[in-house]
């Protein structure tokens, strides 16, 4: 059951990620990104991270993606124009990227052999909201407060940027 869910979520994530890169219309890319985020939430649940899975759905799948789609609709962004890329990028780009990913996968398999490190659903459920809240307000209290100031600054910055005419 675990492996079926993992395979479904992994295929959905990779398929939606490919669709994000290949589609020319921003709205299709945004919808694919929502697919990636939903399947990642399922993977987080399989890893025992309940709180992060829910935060993923609410913050990413909800708030951030609504912001993206709102901006796409507001700017009436159409399909992007194909522009001329360099010949080197056209020929060598994707093969080099494939080499990078294969190399990374090889290193990962060497570092974490499948007999030593395994994941099985329910073996460790540490990511409850209670446990995360406790850590957040004891060990990570200073970073938590700093990040709240950061998000306040980001809100003010967004307001200032969006209202001002810059020439």
């Amino acid at each position: 059951m675990d492996s079926i869910l993992f395979i479904i979520a992994a295929i959905a994530a990779i398929g939606c990620g490919l669709n994000l890169v290949l589609q020319t219309h921003p709205i299709s890319s945004a919808l694919s990104l929502i697919g990636v985020m939903s399947s990642l939430a399922l993977l987080y649940l399989l890893l025992g991270a309940e709180f992060i899975a829910m935060a993923q759905m609410i913050v990413y799948g909800g708030a951030v993606m609504v912001l993206f789609i709102f901006v796409i609709m507001l700017l009436n962004a159409g399909a992007e124009k194909r522009s001329d890329k360099s010949l080197f990028a056209q020929i060598a780009g994707f093969p080099l990227l494939a080499v990078l990913v294969v190399l990374l996968s090889f290193l990962i398999r060497q570092t974490f052999p499948s007999t030593v490190s395994e994941v099985s659903f329910g073996e460790w459920v540490g990511g409850t909201a209670e446990a995360i809240g406790k850590q957040l307000f004891t060990k990570f209290l200073l970073p938590f407060e700093v990040v709240s100031v950061l998000i306040l600054i980001a809100i003010l910055g967004a307001v200032v940027l969006a209202q001002k005419e810059i020439d």
Binding site: M1, D2, S3, F6, A10, I14, G17, L18, P26, A30, L33, V36, M37, L43, Y44, L47, A49, F51, I52, Q56, V59, Y60, V64, L67, F68, V71, L75, A77, E80, S83, K85, A89, A98, L104, S105, I108, R109, F112, S114, S117, E118, V119, S120, W124, G126, G127, I132, Q135, L136, V147, L150, I151, A154, I155, G157, A158, L161, A162, K164, D167
Partner: protein, 103 residues
């Protein structure tokens, strides 16, 4: 039927998603899609954090993933405001047409 998934499967999935994010970041020409590729890369890193957290049976990775989410939300707000301003001033979303700082 195997009921246990190797840890490396999660990490490889994370690497593949990160690679797709890089591809989108470099190949796409629409500012909004470039921005979405950055979000994809952040998500891939989050998956790695949560996986390592499971492997170590330690909750710290979840907290880091949470902070990454907060920073990504802040980044999305500021970045989309910048995109709005650029569009207001230039009337384009093509990333290679915004080149006034190019030598």
């Amino acid at each position: 039927m195997i009921d246990r998934i190797p840890l490396s499967a999660y990490l490889i999935l994370s690497a593949v998603l990160f690679g797709l994010g890089i591809a989108g970041f470099i190949y796409r020409k629409s500012v909004i899609t470039v921005f979405m590729s950055i979000e994809l890369m952040l998500n891939a890193v989050n998956l790695s954090f949560v996986t390592f957290s499971y492997d170590n049976k330690n909750i710290d990775g979840h907290i880091y993933a949470f902070f990454v989410m907060v920073v990504a939300a802040a980044e999305a707000a500021v970045g989309l405001a910048i995109i709005l301003t650029v569009f207001k001033n230039r009337g384009t979303l093509q990333i290679d047409e915004v080149d006034s700082m190019k030598l």
